[in-house]
């Protein structure tokens, strides 16, 4: 049917589809939408990390002019009692009997305008009986620890991992191979080290929000979610409505990074609308968003064994993830962490156990490579420690152990689909080119992750009789450039101008099913669905052209971007006009994806190398150069790929150098605003920062593409800590590498007698 020709659209850094809207301020985000008749909610939050709720006095708030309702969980009827959660049904829209973290919504005031709602919310008087907070994951796992959840929650629709009753374990995953103790007996060197990774906040510039309008037989939610279809299912369960009666509309989204995955404020907005009978707008600001979601903190104890020549023989890992008060995606993070801890190396014997632990802190969920940066921080730090113990070059040690293309990483998963050794050497060369003469130390790290599981997506491409095309799909453009790349794919497949391709933002009433926005799955999975839909359009055009010409199907072909009936060339839109007999109608193509071979659809490769200098008087690490490497298979839009990687690297600088949600012993968030919570600024950029894209055309996605976007932040922390160790001899195993931590470690090292 089709003859491959040179690609016109693919591989070019074309201008973004959303560019003009975004640089003119015309792009409309959730808070810019006008929903007529909407009232506004203000949330009353628990000031305690853990407390029984004795009473909620709301009459004074309800009496304020302009207030529509002042509501506690008890006012919400069955909807207030119904738990939600995609993996564990452990959360309710308002805390009922007890609050499980500081900032948990306990009551809500709904009013005609936001200022009135906020003023009245301050009049809601909640009586609490404080309970012991559960802040530290190690103590949370001790026998007799205070339980965050007194009764085990039921599994959610996608749940596979139950809680461990009588403990704070939200999910536990263990994987093993061989005989790990035999592996350690085979080793000449065994190291055991513990690394910690902080709780960090996504800080999407746009805070979470939702506007809901509930009627008895239909529910519409406008939201900045990344997961319209997962959300549809949650709300269908909660409201006992058919899927077709739930409408999720997603406007422009101001960043997600996973933080807007799965239900967030949408269930609350929907229940409030059902309760007050009006559309309800719930926006909670950035400080509210710090009470919605974060990345899992981690404590990773690793034991590795190696022979004298560097050959790894065994790996043993025990990991506690700090999951916060509710499961969210935590069980999946637990499972992913177990695999991501294996690293890209041949390890004959391993035993890995990961526990996600409930604590009375902001719930943890999805965040750009779930469990990835935490795992790679530990595995790539210990590789350098092992190299030092073996007196080997750290790159040589890695090259000696990296799995080859086609080799198994873990039984049951796709064999390695990249040339890791070549990539690592290429990274080294790029680092040499970026070399800063004043560098005191250089470090590298290699991250791999298994993204893009559950490759379920559908797409519709409508070719109109003027030659323009509408693309319907439901993965969310959160800034990654998805719509631009999808337009490139459709323009390529149908030979229509890219400018004539419109990609529609998700609305579950019209856009077809997609599993999720995340896991670096856009190009490979959604891109494949869209490509198949465009190819379906092409196949139908051929059939229509044959019918119009009255010739057998064998006499029509797609060539050079057009239908050919014999030697006659017919443009795609002309086929439509001829078949309908007038300028009317359209051809509708569909694309379904249910798998792309074995999971994962591809291995995401994120390598990085850093050069640093250290100010020994202050402990400040100065990052001089950073080079990232991503294996993207084929870059459909190289500029967007590079920008994804650079963005991920700079985001990684945050958890490496300064980001941490700090909690007091009593469970109060100590840095609850963007004044105290420090993210990377433009002044934190190294003088040299670039990303190498590896393109072997070997991905499972369109034109050989693989996904990317998460991998860039995997290597940042260990690469910098490894550089620090090389520069100073000091090994720090706790993030972030703050000046205080570095300075203290340097002082302690100076005070220790030199080792013989």
């Amino acid at each position: 049917m089709s003859q491959p020709g040179p690609l016109r659209e693919i591989g070019h850094s074309v201008e973004r589809k959303d560019g003009v809207a975004k640089v003119t301020g015309r792009a409309q985000y959730l808070d810019d939408l006008v929903i007529s008749g909407a009232v506004y909610a203000a949330i009353v939050r628990s000031p305690y990390a853990h407390a029984r709720i004795l009473s909620v006095e709301r009459a004074a708030a309800a009496a304020v002019p302009g207030v529509v309702a002042a509501l506690a969980a008890a006012d919400l009827g069955a909807l207030g009692e119904r738990p939600f959660g995609t993996f564990l049904k452990d959360q309710r829209v308002l805390a009922r009997d007890k609050a499980r973290y500081e900032g948990e919504p306990v009551a809500v005031v709904v009013a005609e305008d936001p200022a009135t709602a906020a003023r009245a919310a301050s009049l809601v008087d909640v009586a609490y009986e404080p309970l012991p907070p559960v802040i530290d994951v190690v103590r949370a796992r001790e026998p007799g620890a205070t339980l965050v959840h007194d009764t085990p929650p039921a599994l959610g629709r996608q749940g596979r991992w139950p809680t461990v009753p009588g403990t704070n374990v939200c999910a536990r995953v263990a994987i093993e191979q061989g005989d790990v103790e035999q592996g350690f007996r085979d080793a000449d060197v065994v190291l055991e080290r513990t690394y910690t990774f902080p709780r960090v906040f996504h800080y999407t510039l746009e805070p979470h929000g939702a506007v809901a309008s509930a009627t008895p037989d239909e529910l519409t939610v406008w939201t900045n979610t990344g997961h319209p279809y997962q959300l549809r299912q949650e709300l269908a369960d909660m409201f006992e409505l058919d899927l077709a009666r739930i409408r999720i509309v997603v406007p422009y989204v101001g960043g997600s990074f996973g933080g807007k995955s799965f239900p967030k404020l949408e269930p609350l907005a929907a229940v409030l609308s059902a309760t007050v009978g009006r559309p309800v707008k719930v926006l909670n600001g950035v400080e509210g968003s710090m009470r919605i979601n974060r990345r899992h903190g981690a404590r990773v104890t690793l034991r590795v064994g190696a022979r004298r020549d560097g050959t790894l023989t065994a790996k043993h890992a025990r990991v506690l993830l700090d999951g916060g008060a509710y499961a969210d995606l935590g069980p999946v993070v637990t499972e992913k962490t177990s695999v991501r801890l294996l690293g890209p190396y041949r390890v004959p014997h391993y035993s890995i156990q990961v526990e996600n632990v409930y604590t009375t802190t902001t719930p943890a969920g999805a965040f750009r490579s779930i469990g990835g940066p935490q795992s790679v921080w530990a595995t790539e730090s210990i590789m350098d420690e092992l190299a030092a113990a073996l007196d080997m070059d750290p790159v040589e040690l890695r090259l000696h152990n990296l799995v080859s293309r086609g080799e198994s990483v873990r039984p049951g998963l796709r064999p390695m689909d990249a040339d890791l050794g070549d990539d690592l050497k290429r990274l080294g060369k790029a680092m040499d080119e970026a070399h800063a003469p004043e560098a005191a130390g250089r470090g590298v790290a290699v991250g791999i992750s298994n993204p893009a599981e559950l490759p379920i997506s559908t797409a519709i491409v409508r070719l109109h009789y003027d030659g323009s095309a509408t693309v319907l799909c439901s993965m969310v453009e959160v800034g990654q450039g998805l719509h631009t790349v999808l337009a490139q794919i459709v323009a390529e497949e149908l030979s229509v101008p890219r400018a004539a391709v419109v990609v529609v933002s998700p609305d579950t009433r019209v856009g077809p099913y997609d599993w999720s926005s995340g896991a670096s799955r856009g190009v490979t999975i959604v891109g494949t669905a869209v490509q198949r839909a465009a190819q379906d359009v092409r196949a139908q055009l051929l059939a229509l052209a044959a019918e119009v010409a009255g010739v057998p199907a064998a006499e029509v072909a797609w060539r050079d971007g057009a239908v050919h009936v014999g030697e006659r060339r017919v443009a795609p839109a002309q086929v439509i006009r001829e078949w309908y007999g007038r300028p009317a109608g359209e051809v509708i193509g569909r694309g379904y994806v249910r798998n792309l071979g074995r999971d994962p659809a591809f291995w995401e490769i994120g390598m990085g190398g850093a050069e640093i200098a250290v100010d020994r008087d202050t402990g400040v690490i100065q990052l001089l150069s950073y080079t990232g490497l991503a294996d993207v298979g084929r870059a459909i839009n190289p500029q967007l790929c590079e920008q994804q990687d650079v963005g991920a690297i700079v985001m990684g600088l945050g958890h490496t150098l300064f980001e941490e949600m700090a909690y007091s012993e009593s469970g109060s968030l100590l840095n609850p605003s963007m004044i105290e919570y420090r993210v990377p600024l433009v002044t934190d950029l190294p003088a040299t920062l670039h990303a190498v894209l590896v393109e072997n055309g070997d991905g499972a996605g369109p034109y050989g593409a693989k996904g990317m976007g998460e991998g860039g932040n995997l290597a940042v922390a260990p690469a910098i800590a490894n550089a620090l160790a090389r520069a100073t001899g000091v090994r720090i195993r706790d993030l972030p590498l703050t000046p205080e931590r570095v300075w203290t470690a340097l002082r302690e090292a100076a005070a220790r007698p030199a080792r013989p």
Binding site: S13, L205, G254, V286, V646
Partner: protein
């Protein structure tokens, strides 16, 4: 809405306006809610992120932390006022050329901050640019494409593009 309203005479994007506002009304709320100028974004609420940056008599301010009344008798320029007759400002063109944005939520404020800088010092050095943009957070791009956009805009303005 209440008796406490005051009159605010100001100029927004070249249009003279006389508005009744509450004394404590923030400039950002008046722009977004009263005037429908939703290009200026609300994010951190504490004058750290720069997403709400607008120009007050040419100087960048965080509209989330400025009283609307402070705009009395002054000229406010928002992202909506930057393009003239659908012709984009060179700074906007530069952000398009380098794709100096991803999610776009910081972009209006970022562009206004860059315009303020280049109006004041067209040949700002890369160090000046970084120092000036410390008050504008972008969580997506890693800033590199934004710095590239500033350089492109500087060249275009030096070559005589209408700023």
């Amino acid at each position: 809405m209440t008796a406490r309203q005051i009159t605010l005479d100001t100029t927004v994007n070249g249009r003279a306006l006389s508005l009744s506002v509450e004394p404590e009304a923030l400039l950002l709320d008046v722009l977004r809610e009263r005037l429908g100028l939703t290009g200026s974004k609300r994010s951190c609420d504490v004058q750290v992120c720069g997403a709400c940056t607008v120009l007050l008599d040419g100087l960048p301010v965080s509209a989330c932390s400025v009283l609307a009344y402070e705009a009395r008798g002054r000229r406010v320029l928002t992202i909506e006022g930057l393009a003239r007759d659908e012709r984009l400002h060179p700074v906007q063109e530069a952000f398009l050329a380098t794709a100096g944005f991803q999610c776009g939520f910081c972009t209006p404020g970022m562009i206004m901050a860059v315009k303020a800088l280049l109006d004041d010092s067209p040949s700002a050095t890369p160090e000046d640019v970084r120092e000036h943009l410390r008050g504008n957070i972008c969580r997506c791009t890693g800033y590199a494409s934004i710095l590239a956009a500033v350089a492109v805009a500087q060249r275009a303005l030096a070559d005589g593009a209408a700023g």
